[in-house]
């Protein structure tokens, strides 16, 4: 039996095709059918223009793209042995911005995207978790909106922020600004304590064993109970290979295949278009079914995202959950929510480190226009995982711009007979509802995936 279903409540939409055998998903294919063509648009544009284009790839992770672009452009200087001096202050402000965006995204994802589907396995009425009217849904929405104000203070606005430029940042926060940012983050911490985890923040951060699941209260307890009732700790396992391309304030770079290594070579990242539609080619080629490309590291699929970051960095609580429940839906969701706490903690620490007397920006000695030819890459850990930008310029004009988003790592199609990460995870699901939850556990973003 074959079924085709639509997965919404993501950014954009995805089509999930399943083949069934004896009541289980035997094979699956994920189609992303919306394309905009950012890489084509960037070609021929002045290099600095990329700073306003790439954040628009996604309305949710624009900071990550902004940071990737600015660092790719700075890496161009580095490749010419003209490394720019970026003050500590500028570096910290960029990191703070990125972290806040991830916190915002994770809170919304838990309450708006995954929790309603999990609750619906049991209840018809979502009650306080109902979109647009449930009390908890509205509280989560409000918390996310308040948190993101901390970013708006230094970034001007959110979404689609522009405050990073090669050489630093344009903003110059005052002490009052920094205090306000702290206050917004404290609101999120209160929400985490009162509604998400139901335990004190410090207690939660000290979690280091499976038994700690018993201490949880509120929504994480609700989620945990539902997960075990519907075996979400068993479904959704994939290759269990993990990749984090960049260091971040809460995680290290590295990969886990059989064992952990921090040796990464960006040249081993390869894109594959076997299943991907081509621009201007209205073909009927059956092999091609999506606008998403596939990507591998050293010819292998890797999962990326908060769960992989927790694994690579050996974050105790998630690491222990993984020992019992592998790379299941349950562990993957827990890892994303767990990251909220760690990010809130480390972002507050970062704000304390901002030295307002430092400079925000130091002008590059040479202009990109005076560089005959250069190429550079950058990597950033975004909400959904590792983001990679690769830019080539000639006299300040972009000649090629390649973007590989986290969702391409997780949600890209198969290569030959090898299934993509999410695809493999969906196989074996006992129902369409579970299959959709497995897909959603990767935090699907159709617009990022296809860009």
């Amino acid at each position: 039996m074959k079924t085709v279903d639509i997965v919404e409540r993501i950014e954009g939409e995805a089509r999930l095709n399943c083949t069934w055998e004896n009541g289980f998903v035997k094979d699956t294919q994920i189609d992303f059918l919306n394309f905009r063509g950012f890489e084509y648009i960037l070609e021929g544009k002045p290099a600095l223009d990329a700073l306003v284009y790439t954040p628009r790839i996604c309305g949710i992770c624009g900071q990550a793209h902004l940071k990737a672009t600015v660092e790719a452009l700075e890496n161009i200087y580095k490749s010419l042995n003209e490394e720019l001096v970026i003050t500590n202050k500028a570096k910290i402000l960029r990191e703070i911005g990125l972290n806040i965006e991830i916190i915002d995204s994770h809170i919304k994802w838990f309450y708006m995207f995954i929790l309603p589907d999990v609750i619906k396995l049991k209840e018809n009425d979502l009650k306080e978790y109902s979109p647009l009217k449930g009390k908890r849904w509205l509280e989560a929405c409000k918390t996310a909106s308040e948190t993101i104000k901390a970013l708006a203070i230094i970034g001007g606005q959110w979404p689609h922020t522009s405050y990073m430029i090669p050489g630093g940042v344009v903003s110059d926060p005052t002490l009052l600004d920094l205090t306000s940012m702290m206050n917004y983050l404290d609101l999120a911490i209160n929400f985490f304590e009162d509604s998400i985890a139901g335990v004190s923040f410090d207690k939660y951060l000290s979690f280091n064993s499976v038994d700690d699941l018993n201490i949880l209260n509120e929504d994480l307890k609700y989620f945990t109970n539902l997960s075990f009732e519907y075996s979400l700790q068993k479904y959704g396992t994939s290759y269990d290979r993990h990749l984090a391309l960049s260091d971040s304030s809460i995680s290290k770079r590295g990969k886990i295949r059989q064992r952990l290594t921090d040796k990464l070579d960006l040249n081993k990242i390869k894109e594959n278009c076997d299943r991907t539609f081509k621009v201007e080619e209205d073909s009927k080629n059956k092999e091609k079914h999506t606008w998403s490309k596939a990507v591998t590291y050293n010819s292998m699929f890797y999962e990326t995202g908060p769960f992989s970051r927790a694994m690579v960095s050996h974050r105790e609580f998630i690491y222990e959950l993984h020992k019992s429940y592998k790379d299941s839906v349950f562990t993957r969701v827990m890892a994303r929510v767990d990251e909220i706490a760690h990010l809130l903690h480390s972002t507050k620490e970062l704000i304390k480190q901002v030295d307002i007397s430092e400079e925000s920006y130091i002008k590059p000695k040479i202009s990109l226009k005076d560089i005959p030819k250069a190429n550079a890459k950058s990597v950033v850990e975004a909400c959904r995982g590792s983001l990679y930008h690769n830019v080539s310029i000639e006299k300040g004009i972009i000649t090629k711009y390649d973007v590989i988003t986290p969702t391409v790592w997780n949600l890209g199609p198969a290569i030959k007979d090898e299934k993509g990460v999410a695809q493999k995870a969906i196989i074996g699901s006992p129902s369409l509802d579970i299959a959709k939850i497995v897909l959603r556990s990767f935090d699907v973003c159709s617009v990022c995936t296809t860009h």
């Binding site: 639509i6 993501i10 059918l33 919306n34 394309f35 648009i41 284009y53 628009r56 309305g59």
Partner: protein, 412 residues
């Protein structure tokens, strides 16, 4: 010297660049009566949601005075005289009479993100509890086939009465196959045509839906266009910007409730209440422009003192939008507040024309400054020439404007 000051004076003082906010007592009195009648008709209608705005507001601990403060600010935003405030308050309570369907096409969801952050007494309640959002891909509970049914039902039930909000552009290339939706693989084009057919009005939200936005930037690989290029025979309201300011989305809905009509629009179908003046006209750094105090490069003494960002590429003088007043994220901040110039995101084709760090002098931009047929590079150069002599050029323009013509000789 005199040429450039004359030019600047023209640019910043001529009437066509501004909105005439006072349309006379007769006009407002008649509008007031119409609105009153309209609201009482709406009040007789069955609410789509059984929610009382004032209950919501009180239960959330917002007092009446705060609500009225918000109402008077909103009344001003809609460019209505203060006597309309009680009607705006009433219209807010009647938001649950107007059904809204929200479509996402070739987009990044940035406007949905902005909507989640709209400013109101209790934002979420005002918008989500009271506004009857009948369909929204990303925010509603249903998904998949359920969602399709929900959309069909909403369209049938509210036939010819719903406001259709559209986020994202429409790809016309390759027979529309750059963007399809739903299990049947309907193209965005067909989808929009089908759903707009029975809408009372179509509101294009964000620069993608209005002017094609990023996807339409050169070379426009997917043949992206805006809603107004596709939908014909319907009132269309454009709320550009990237993202659009949610205050303007609420403003359009309120105006519709209040009058049953679309607000007054400019030639680009933008509501004049929001896009009738330039960023520059109300910019918090305007005094520094007038005083000739400019940020020369990021991080300099000017940047640290919040001076004017014109010389580092701010497009405020050419960009029509109210974000210098409304700001973003519930008034927290806006790009210029954070030290970044305006990128002109509410103007057509801004992607190709206004990219923000390209020096003005080398960009061949036509400034939509109301009849001044000069390219912006000339315009910019004129200004910069003026400022090099250490005078705030605008201050000079104002001073000259205030003097008798015979005294112009002093201005050397």
């Amino acid at each position: 010297m005199i040429d450039s000051t004359e030019m600047v004076k023209k640019v910043f003082t001529q009437k066509s660049g501004r909105v005439d906010t006072n349309r006379g007592d007769e006009y407002y009195n008649s509008l007031f009566e119409n609105a009153k009648n309209r609201l009482s008709t709406l009040r007789e209608q069955e609410p789509l949601k059984d929610i009382d705005m004032m209950d919501v507001i009180e239960s959330e601990g917002v007092n009446r005075r705060d609500f009225m403060k918000w109402v008077s600010a909103t009344t001003a935003t809609l460019m209505l005289p203060p006597m309309f405030a009680p009607l705006v308050a009433e219209a807010t309570e009647l938001m649950n009479r107007v059904p809204v369907i929200w479509l996402e096409l070739q987009d990044c969801a940035g406007n949905t993100e902005a909507l989640l952050r709209s400013s109101a007494p209790t934002v979420d309640d005002l918008l989500f509890d009271v506004l009857s959002l009948e369909f929204h891909h990303a925010l509603m509970a249903g998904a998949g086939h359920d969602a399709e049914h929900q959309l069909d039902e909403a369209m049938e039930h509210f036939k010819d009465n719903y406001l259709l909000f559209v986020e994202g552009s429409i790809p016309m290339g390759m027979n529309g196959n750059y963007g399809t939706i739903g299990p049947s693989g309907e193209t965005f084009h067909d989808h929009l045509q089908r759903i707009s057919k029975h809408a009372a009005a179509v509101v294009a939200v964000g620069t993608c839906a209005t002017f094609g936005g990023v996807p339409a930037a050169s070379p426009n690989p997917t043949g992206a266009v805006g809603v107004m290029d596709i939908v014909k025979g319907k009132p269309i309201i454009n709320i550009p910007a990237c993202p659009a300011n949610p205050a303007n989305m609420v403003g359009v809905v309120l105006h519709y409730i209040l009058t049953g009509q679309v607000p007054e629009l400019d030639s680009l179908l933008r509501p004049k209440f929001a896009f009738g003046y330039r960023i520059h006209d109300n910019c918090e750094r305007r005094a520094h422009f007038d005083a000739g105090e400019f940020v020369e490069e990021w991080g300099d003494v000017g940047a640290q003192n919040n001076w004017c960002l014109y010389k580092v590429g701010c497009k405020g003088p050419m960009t029509f939008n109210n974000c210098s007043i409304i700001r973003y994220n519930e008034g927290t901040n806006w790009p210029i507040g954070a030290g970044h110039g305006c990128i002109g995101c509410s103007e057509p084709d801004f992607w190709d024309k206004y990219a923000y760090q390209r020096p003005m002098a080398s960009a061949n931009i036509k400034a939509p400054t109301g009849g001044v047929e000069k390219t912006v590079d000339e315009f910019g150069l004129g200004l910069l020439t003026a400022t090099t002599v250490g005078i705030g050029v605008h201050a000079v323009a104002s001073a000259v404007a205030g003097k008798k013509s015979g005294e112009e000789g002093e201005d050397k």
